[in-house]
Symmetry: C2
């Protein structure tokens, strides 16, 4: 439980911000939060990038909202592995998101209409460019570190390639140098579920007063399956039947229904899907999964990750989790190899954790210990 | 390419057939096919059970339809591993299917209305009961072997438990003693996609003149991801962009779109989804995935598979494939252990194949060789 309070901030930019798609964004704003204090020589800033459904609200709570803890509150705060007593930590909500920064539900200044599906496609590289402009505005030239998990890790990787001179360390957790065909396939099914929901209206559902909740529910259910390991699902749910109060047979006998909930895992997935469909924007889901699909720094180097990382100068900590089948340890090892090929400084921890991809958000003594140690080293460099 | 012709047959039953759900089916019919010749002492019959989207049309072609090859034509036929020159092979379409046997699109004799979602929930055990009644009608008391892959393998397993005295051998390929939480989860997402499609109309879409194609497409796309291995998807599609003819950049540059096809894997999945939605019945999909979910012979033995298989007397061949993450080799090994605990005769082959769950339908020299050898042994017992 976090006890410190934080305030969500916003900064406006006139733009235009040129995007990889060829489009540009004007009159946009970025929601962000900061934690800790920037030191006198402005050298202790750590940027933390978020993944699919998270935001700039990394840690702490909002005043009067004791349950509003940030999504990485176990990692970031006073005395935490990323210690805000030592570092000035910055969280930024990415463009296209639905948590404060300019996104599909905002008004396009060029047309006066809500963007909807016309919000330009954004890439990891575009996000990093926008984050760099925010740092400029905050007067931060170089980062002590950039950190992220999953899609956030891709942004951290991209920082070391787009702005190598501005990053001293990159902490990349449960990430990958690109998506596999299977990863793309899961994203595509989720997108098709959203796009083919009759309430999607080609992405302009806001003006119809509806939300494509059916599609969002399916998308989230698929996502949840890929975030967890087979092991942890068996341990947590197994073949347990739904525990219900309405009847003697509840929990012990099949009901023989194709549409009612029969197993606990079904109840869990439906609940997660329902919850998600209440707060997440459908167009944002499309944009963020596409940013995942497109990320592939080796692409413009003929597929050579080693060549791609020749320009990186940061030191790296990479962490992966043994049961993560979404972004498996093998994918992190590809990154380690590419960095070693370039004689970069790399620390790599492969954590034996049962929780699958979700492990990067959970407490694990070894994982937290590795990150804590690494940031102690980063802090020592600051004071040296 | 198969050159022999086969005829689809049908047999009607007055019933009632009591079902595990407590319901019963009256006035139902089973579509079936036979291959080869039943020998004089009626001892060479082999029943082949089908999986999710297959049927009783195992092998051969229909007259005048050269492309109508059965789904296991590489396995079954004259001179094939399951040799129809030696065995009398029977394929039966399961109740609730949409390929000939009584199912949701047929008329309920009790109401005079199309069953739709009111078709009773059927289980693997119910299917086996119905198959046994068909064998009775065909005058076949005991099977030389029962064989199946995936859900078909579950039926083969259940035969050895429900009618141990009628089965001499069971050939169980790429199967499992029950579904894991993850398996159920994938089924549930597919079912939710179908049920929440506005064109599903609570399962009574026939009378509305519509088909819940959106849901069927999503269901099939999810299915396809789980049938293939990560490896084979990477090899077959990788991150290749869609090959198109309309433009110089086709296949080499991103289009930057969230809704258009960008990667080959997306094109493949959409095609598979579209094709499936044209021919597969939505209610059948719900019924068959539920039959998968419910199968769990250890359940009534306090979870002990060893106790469950105490009543089996058949000899077994089990086959699994190393890259099958849907029904992994570990699941087959559970079965092997339960059978060995009961001192049953078990042969087990773990085939190193790259194709994931789909491998059970594909040609693989070692796989085909193992099955061929096993059936040679079964044939030798017949003539001994």
């Amino acid at each position: 439980m976090s006890s410190f309070e934080v305030v969500s901030q916003s900064m406006s930019f006139a733009g235009p911000l040129p995007l990889r798609s060829g489009a540009a964004l004007s009159d946009y704003s970025l929601a962000y939060e900061t934690y800790g204090t920037l030191n006198a020589d402005r050298s202790n800033a750590v940027l933390v990038c978020h993944a699919l459904n998270a935001s700039h609200h990394l840690a702490g709570v909002y005043a009067g909202q004791p349950k509003s803890e940030g999504w990485w509150d176990n990692m970031i705060g006073p005395g935490k592995p990323l210690d805000t007593d030592r570092f000035f930590v910055i969280g930024v909500n990415n463009l296209g998101s639905c948590f404060g920064s300019t996104g599909p539900m905002h008004t396009d200044p060029a047309t006066g209409r809500v963007y909807g599906a016309d919000f330009p496609v954004v890439t990891v590289e575009d996000w990093v460019d926008a984050q760099a402009l925010l740092l400029d505005a905050l007067g931060i030239d170089a980062l002590a570190a950039v950190m992220g998990g999953s899609l956030g890790g891709m942004q951290a990787l991209s920082w070391t390639l787009q702005y190598p001179q501005r990053v001293r360390h990159a902490v990349v957790v449960a990430s990958a140098p690109n998506l596999t065909a299977e990863n793309i396939a899961f994203n595509e099914v989720a997108r098709r579920a959203i796009v083919t929901d009759p309430d999607f209206h080609g992405g302009h559902f806001y003006e119809q007063g509806v939300i494509p909740k059916r599609g969002l529910r399916i998308a989230r259910m698929i996502g949840h399956i890929t975030y967890l390991s087979d092991d942890v699902m068996n341990e947590k749910f197994g073949r347990e039947l739904r525990s219900a109060v309405e009847g003697e047979l509840a929990g012990t006998a099949y009901r023989y229904s194709t549409q009612d909930v029969e197993f606990q895992i079904e109840s869990y997935l439906r609940y997660q899907g329902d919850k998600f469909s209440e707060y997440f924007d459908a167009n944002t889901y499309l944009l963020i999964t596409r940013a995942l699909d497109y990320f592939d720094p080796a692409r413009e180097h003929g597929g050579s990750l080693t060549e791609a990382f020749a320009k990186a100068t940061a030191k790296f900590l990479l962490v992966s989790f043994t049961t993560d089948w979404r972004f498996s340890p093998a994918r992190s090892r590809e990154l380690v190899k590419a960095l070693l090929d370039n004689r970069r400084s790399v620390s790599y921890a492969e954590i034996d954790a049962p929780h699958g991809h979700d492990a990067f958000l959970l407490d694990d003594v070894r994982y937290m210990g590795v990150v804590r140690s690494y940031f102690e080293r980063v802090a020592a460099e600051l004071t040296a």
